[in-house]
């Protein structure tokens, strides 16, 4: 019964989405306040209905109701409760429901906090948001219904894929979706601005908090996924330039570019057309990612034919939104008035360079991801575009962007002094170059990337720190005065600084790759094996029974110079329900590096084949990402960016904004 309520709520949500699309849009055209206000209520009702539907599905999974097809295929009564819940989005239908739930959450946020917005802008934005919702709800109900019944119900479910039975599944997808789907708001506002033919700094000020939320979640979501891959795969890889990863990286790159250009628009009223373009691009990439992954064209051209209904449906949605928005852009963008002149060497100019590099990297990733597909369709030739290609192209572009970051961060608005900035950054440049040189000498030319990334990381960190200090302190200024100036700097400045520091920290983490060690060996009980500066000794091999698996676990002691520093226990898990095995790596963080051990199935003679790694600085990769996301959150806390601040700021703009510029 609860399942039917959920199903029914989803159908009602479709109706609410329809109302949200049509009524406020019509109201905005005829100038009827009452009709425009419908958008707000429809968004809230839609959110409530989708939340009910989602709760119903969660309930079915928790109760192991195997009369629901989705539960029977993806759950098992023996699974721990957390995986029963996470399993809701561990499959196609459920993850699409999570997608629309998050879409509805963002719609409801606009409805709740958009009171300060111009009525027409809000009505149009909610209408566009409603249209996206309408399309995806129709997709779910027509092709991917999670509430489909299975009669007669099986006695036991097929179980969730064992690799997905991990806390990572509970964390990673919702975070990533918050980011992915969060860009829908930016998209809706861009479309609304285009429909109105007007866009200004107030628009930027309202959109920026949503951008920061989406971007921060996307950053942390990608990092969480990468960390999950790292400890699950058994060899410590964390980024593979896999089409699926690329699908999440592209919106991130476009979103990062947007975040920077929207700052220009907010502060200087420049780059309007470009900012709108990026807003459309960021969400288009989210949609493209959804299409690529859901339709299966990327995994295999043939898979597309397996269920053409889903693939074609998403393709239609994709075509409608991307073509529609770009057509709107081409038609309306020329009407947007440009403001804010700036010299090529200026903060604005640097942000244009940032945008160029990021969007080129993004386009390269897109090109590399789709090229083999196109080539095979056109010529029948099968090629692989793998990590080496992306590292050489997109990687190089991104490293260049990282190098430019401290310069842009230090340049003044309107007209900057590149020579002066270079002088201020001298210390950072020297420190970075010295680090790179020492690193290269240490490695003896074994890797070009590692010393380069390390030098760049040091440069970005020190360069950012210099700028923070220089903002507050000039030679001759008393410490107390400097401190009070530091406290007076806007939070969004510190947010930006923290995010840039995060980039530097991630670079340092990446550079650690070149300094690591790997040992492949068959471990015997009591016989130590060297890996980097540590030695690892196998203590025993034990068999254990878990909730829905059995595992062979191999406790080991990690020693440094004869002193035990850690106990680790890598394992192999056997899941009977699907006859699958997973690798549970044994990990220990020492300083910022990790000792990483993955085992194969133990042999009958009490030995176990293993891969052992010492990965120096590796945790910095994710700590850096966390710092970036935290930087976003810090900016979000800035008083001037609070939700709804747009209009209050606008009212006081004459008094406040002018001296600040």
């Amino acid at each position: 019964m609860i399942v039917e309520i959920g199903h029914f709520a989803l159908v009602l949500a479709l109706a609410a989405a329809f109302a949200q699309t049509v009524v406020p849009f019509w109201g905005a055209r005829v100038g009827d306040d009452g009709l425009m206000a419908v958008g707000r209520n429809a968004a809230l009702i839609q959110f409530a209905l989708i939340a009910i539907a989602f709760a119903a599905l969660v309930n079915a999974h928790l109760a192991s109701d195997f009369s629901v097809l989705n539960v029977a295929e993806n759950s098992n009564s023996a699974m721990p409760a957390i995986y029963k819940i996470a399993g809701v989005w561990g499959n196609h239908e459920g993850s699409m429901l999570l997608w629309v739930l998050i879409l509805a959450i963002f719609g409801a946020l606009v409805a709740l906090f958009g009171r300060g917005l111009p009525r027409m802008l809000r009505a149009d934005a909610l209408a566009v948001q409603g249209l996206i919702s309408l399309a995806f709800l129709a997709f779910i109900l027509l092709t991917s219904n999670p509430f489909e019944r299975l009669i007669p119900a099986p006695f036991e479910g097929r179980d969730l894929n064992p690799i997905l039975q991990d806390p990572g599944l509970a964390i990673h997808p919702p975070l990533l979706y918050l980011g992915y789907v969060g860009f829908s708001i930016v998209f809706s506002f861009a479309a609304a601005a285009l429909i109105e033919g007007r866009i200004d700094a107030a628009w930027a000020r309202f959109v920026r908090p949503f951008t920061l939320v989406a971007w921060s979640f996307l950053t942390i979501g990608i990092a969480a996924g990468s960390f999950w891959a790292y400890y699950t795969l058994g060899w410590g890889g964390f980024w593979f330039w896999d089409p699926v990863e690329n699908a999440s990286l592209m919106p991130w790159l476009a979103g990062t570019a947007f975040l920077h250009s929207v700052a220009v628009m907010e502060k200087r009223d420049a780059l309007k057309v470009w900012t709108i373009f990026l807003a459309i691009l960021a969400f288009s990439f989210s949609l493209l990612g959804t299409f690529l992954v859901r339709s299966g064209v990327l995994t295999s051209v043939h898979a597309f034919a397996n269920d053409p209904r889903r693939g074609v449906f998403i393709l239609a949605i994709l075509a409608m939104f991307i073509c529609g928005s770009f057509a709107l852009f081409a038609w309306r963008a020329p009407m947007l008035k440009q403001g804010g002149l700036f010299a090529p060497v200026s903060r604005e100019g640097a942000l244009v360079v940032n945008n160029l590099l990021l969007t080129t990297a993004c386009a390269t990733v897109l090109f590399g991801t789709l090229y083999p597909l196109a080539l095979e369709q056109l010529t029948g030739q099968k090629i692989t575009v793998g990590a080496p290609f992306f590292n050489l192209t997109a990687g190089a572009l991104l490293l260049t962007a990282c190098f430019a970051a401290p310069f842009g961060f230090s340049l003044a608005w309107k007209r900057g002094d590149l020579l002066g900035v270079a002088q201020r950054l001298t210390l950072a440049l020297i420190a970075g170059a010295a680090t790179a040189a020492i690193g290269a000498a240490w490695l003896g030319g074994r890797s070009v990337f590692a010393p380069l990334a390390m030098g760049l990381g040091v440069f970005v960190i020190i360069g950012t720190a210099i700028e923070v200090v220089m903002r507050a302190w000039r030679p001759g200024l008393a410490l107390g005065a400097a401190l009070s100036r530091a406290l007076g700097l806007p939070l969004s400045f510190y947010g930006g600084a923290l995010a840039h520091l995060g980039v530097g920290v991630t670079l340092l983490g990446l550079s650690g790759l070149g300094f690591g060690a790997e040992t492949i060996a068959t471990l015997h009980k009591g016989a130590p094996v060297e890996v980097g500066p540590y030695s690892v000794t196998l203590n025993s091999i034990e068999q254990r029974v878990g909730s829905n698996y059995t595992e062979a676990i191999a406790p080991m002691t990690v020693r440094s110079g004869g002193v035990a520093v850690a106990e680790i226990a890598p394992a192999r898990r056997q899941f009977a329900s699907r006859e699958m095995t997973t690798t549970e790596a044994g990990l220990k963080t020492l300083q910022f590096g990790q000792v990483y051990v993955a085992i194969a199935d133990p042999a009958a003679d009490g030995t176990v084949p293993a891969r052992l790694y010492w990965k120096p600085l590796v945790t910095l990769i994710w700590l850096g990402a966390a710092a970036m996301a935290l930087g976003g959150a810090l900016s979000l806390a800035d008083r001037r960016l609070r939700f709804g601040a747009a209009v209050r700021a606008k009212a006081g703009a004459r008094q406040l904004a002018q001296p600040a510029q």
């Binding site: 690799i163 699950t232 089409p243 990863e245 859901r294 090629i383 692989t384 990590a387 095995t581 199935d601």
Partner: protein, 225 residues
Amino acid sequence: MMTRRRRDPFSLWEKVADAVGRMREPWQSHRRASRTNPHPNPSPVGEGNCAPLHLRHVLTARGKLLFLLPLLALLAGHALAVEPDEVMKNPALEARARALSEQLRCLVCQNESVDDSEAPLARDIRLLIRERIREGESNDQVRAYLVSRYGDFILLKPPFQADTWLLWLSPALILGLGLAAALYARRGTPRSTPALTAEEEARLAALTGDRASAGSPLPLGEGQG
């Protein structure tokens, strides 16, 4: 063995099956299982085993891992990528073998290198590389042999040739286009704001004069935006 098979929709699969067929006994079961499924990749929209894989496909990189699972199920006991018994005694040769296998794609996985893959076919290729290196072949010779056998598909880094130059040059082309667009957008905008007229100068002087006499200089920190 060296001849390439005729091109058909499943040509890659033919190669894979051919290679698998040459393997040792235990893998026969894998071959049979695979024959019934004419494509090596799991279909993320299809029914059956792959259905629960969708999320992973949208979310993370481990799509490739998923395909390994059915193989692993059939092959309990083979569970690491490079295994201890594969490692060559000569560290220089082993380093060459590793470097080579890192640049090759595992043919049955989605996007994993031969070096990282746990698939039996990847192990087979790793052993093949080591055998050829031991026989004294150069890296290029080994690579050429593998390409002749499996096609360009096996190279993670696509070669620069007639059908890939567009791919390789795409970043430069896109960057160039972007630069051109940026310059085009600047065209027509004045280089700088026009100089103030005498009247404006006078007004400004009056305004700033007022301000100075009122004794309110700009506080520190202003003007940074």
